[in-house]
């Protein structure tokens, strides 16, 4: 079975305390429930959650939707985005199966990054690591005014921003992530084709500004 790996890189730094972190938790929960109702997604999509605050941590390894169990998220510390990029690169190497003559490998992973701040670590080595990995697409979301879209633009061309990191906006972002994963899993099951970029994803809701 060819899996569709999905990595969510979530900022859990101190500035996310309160409404934002609760909104992220809720967003993930609602996303998982919705994807479980999608016949293609429940078979193909595997989700991993990597959080980054003062350190980056894979709190949930690549897990199928049917057995996925959400864990608690706490906001604390600084913003080790570079470390998170390094970690996701490492996890892609170890978790995503490559195609050989004996087996069909996994589909190329989808990566969604959400942050409300700027990296506080020496993040360029992590960026360079990540750039060497092949993803179907990477979307970065700048939540609120504290995030720097120019930083995210270096990670991926697909950058969206939220005017405020409130629960309504964050909820909309996760709704769009849900739809994007759904569309991708349908596409690969139906036509055996991967999505190439953000243009092929469902149009983002008005709360999400596409950063050009």
């Amino acid at each position: 079975m060819r899996r569709l790996p999905v990595y969510l890189l979530l900022d859990t730094s101190g500035s996310m305390t309160g409404e934002p972190i609760e909104a992220v938790k809720n967003g993930v929960q609602v996303m998982i429930s919705a994807l479980r109702q999608n016949p293609q997604a429940i078979e193909t999509a595997f989700i991993s959650i990597i959080t980054f605050d003062s350190v980056a941590q894979q709190i949930i390894p690549l897990t199928d939707l049917a057995s996925f169990q959400m864990v608690d998220l706490r906001a604390t510390g600084t913003t080790a985005l570079g470390e998170a990029l390094k970690l996701v690169s490492n996890r892609i190497d170890n978790e995503v199966a490559k195609t050989t003559t004996e087996q069909k490998g996994d589909w190329k992973p989808l990566v969604f990054i959400m942050t409300d701040g700027i990296p506080t670590d020496d993040w360029l080595p992590g960026l360079n690591e990540f750039k060497q990995r092949k993803t179907a697409f990477t979307v970065a979301c700048a939540a609120g005014v504290g995030a720097d879209t120019a930083v995210l633009k270096q990670i991926t061309e697909n950058v969206v921003s939220l005017d405020t990191a409130d629960s309504a906006s964050i909820g909309k972002f996760f709704q769009w992530v849900t739809a994007s994963i759904g569309v991708t899993s349908t596409r690969i099951e139906d036509g055996g084709k991967e999505i190439q970029g953000i243009k092929e994803l469902p149009p983002p809701p008005p709360e999400l500004n596409i950063v050009v």
Binding site: R36, Q37, P39, I42, Q69, V71, K104, D190
Partner: protein, 469 residues
């Protein structure tokens, strides 16, 4: 001692001249009893506090119930081995039975067959050691996720749902499922073609197709299978035209003169062996013309209705076969990723008649609708030929079958995989769906169609399988 401390707390000093009085006071029966009582109450208060903390620890600690799935027998032990849960003396669940589950207190298992899907909260009632037997148990809410049966999530919407005849004609509609069983010369053919679940889920068309014919006049038979590309708008029509065109071509062009010569070449080859070039020449000449004819038919149709030919992208495989006194001649052509496999009489040898156009990142698949395949240097390698005493099965299939059952191209070369595949067809599978390969079996086409409903996660493409036996 207690009274001394009490006095200290209230700043009551006992002067030396009152020391004796204080001693007597402490030993008065009332005071001794009172202190004893107070100490007992202290103890109870402390114990109650400790109890509260232990209960709170249990409430705060996440207890994971592994997710269940509707209709799938469930049995999971709850992990009470964590330190926080060691103090639990009694557990009961309030509302598990409405989900088809129950709790086994001896083995600390949740078991049963879940009957509804959703994200639920279940009420775990518990007591800890030291709690009064008659007290109300504590309550902890725990998440329980029951996944829907994945099969139930797929809808089956007919592609012609509430549509009339005119609509069907305008949209090149074809049945969502077709099957057939016929005599094919000295062999028989059973074939079925059906929509994949991904198409059925959204009421889309079947893109696969097949066609076959036996020509009494000259003893040849032709079998074609085609798989319309999911991304091409009119692929269903492309695959249909391709199959029909090949049959039509051979119907019109397998003329006596041409064939008599080939029969002689084959006989000569059978008796003398040696030079096979005249055979290759015949195969190439005739089959390439048939393939080109299929291409042209689609091209013509596309031009007629003003559509680009790429809207009709389809793979195409076909086999021509004929029984001679000395055995069967089998000639094949293939473009795309659909295999043709030939299993010998005693299932000891598999011959894969064609190579597959597979490519990891798109672009690898080739279609009969692409003019460049005919001028490619690879074109001559698209043909296959074999002469065999007899065979057990000659199979043509689309990738809806091959992806699920063989997974990768390399497995198509392995006899073991084909043996497993034949066993699977004969009923060695989860659903016990079996095809009985008996020419008197009138149900055989239904059996094959039913077998083709096999469940394979991630593989929901259209499925077509033609078996000559």
């Amino acid at each position: 001692m207690y009274i001394e401390n009490l006095f200290k707390r209230f700043n009551v000093r006992v002067p030396a001249n009152r020391q004796k009085l204080f001693e007597q006071f402490m030993h008065e029966e009332f005071n001794v009893e009172a202190v004893k009582l107070i100490m007992e109450k202290h103890k109870i208060i402390m114990e109650n506090w400790e109890l509260k903390v232990r209960i709170e620890d249990i409430l705060a600690k996440q207890l994971i119930i592994p997710n269940a799935t509707v209709a799938k027998p469930y049995q999971e032990a709850l992990d009470f081995n964590q330190p926080e849960f060691m103090e639990i003396s009694f557990i009961a669940f309030d509302n598990l039975d409405q989900y088809g589950l129950n709790f086994n207190p001896d083995l600390k298992l949740i078991e049963g067959i879940p009957n509804q899907s959703g994200d639920f909260k279940v009420k775990m009632k518990f007591k800890v050691f030291g709690e009064d037997e008659n007290s109300e148990p504590n309550t902890k809410m725990i998440s329980l996720v029951i996944n829907a049966d994945p099969k139930s999530l797929w809808k089956n919407i007919a592609s012609d749902d509430q549509k009339d005849k005119t609509w069907k004609e305008q949209h090149y509609w074809k049945p969502d499922q077709v099957e057939d069983f016929q005599k094919l010369g000295s062999k028989h053919i059973v074939v079925s073609s059906k929509r994949g679940r991904s198409h059925a889920n959204v009421g889309a068309f079947r893109e696969d197709d097949y066609a076959f014919k036996h020509f009494e006049a000259n003893g040849w038979s032709v079998v074609c299978v085609a798989d319309g590309a999911g991304s091409a708008k009119l692929a269903r029509q492309g695959s249909k035209i391709a199959c029909k065109a090949v049959v039509d071509y051979f119907e019109q062009n397998l003329t006596d003169d041409n064939l008599r010569q080939f029969d002689e070449i084959l006989l000569h080859h059978h008796q003398e062996g040696g030079d096979s070039q005249p055979i290759s020449h015949f195969v190439y000449n005739n089959l390439s013309k048939a393939a080109l004819y299929a291409h042209q038919q689609i091209e013509g149709f596309a031009a007629e209705i003003n559509h680009p030919i790429k809207d009709f992208h389809s793979t195409l495989i076909f086999a021509l076969l004929k029984k001679f006194d000395f055995g069967y001649a089998i000639l094949t052509f293939g473009v795309g990723d659909c295999p043709i496999g030939l299993l010998n009489k005693d299932l000891t040898e598999i011959k894969l008649m064609n190579w597959l156009d597979v490519g990891e990142f798109g672009g690898g698949t080739r279609f009969i609708t692409m003019p460049e395949i005919f001028s490619s240097e690879k074109f001559p390698t698209r043909f296959g030929f074999t002469l065999t005493n007899d065979f057990s099965y000659l199979m043509l299939m689309t990738d809806g079958i091959y992806d699920a059952k063989f997974v990768v191209e390399a497995n198509l070369e392995k006899l073991e995989n084909w043996k497993t595949f034949v066993d699977d067809l004969k009923g060695n599978n989860e659903d016990r769906a079996a095809v009985s390969f008996d020419v008197s079996n009138q149900e055989i086409a239904h059996q094959l169609s039913a077998w083709m409903d096999f469940w394979s996660p991630g593989n929901h493409d259209d499925r077509t399988l033609a078996i000559i036996f």
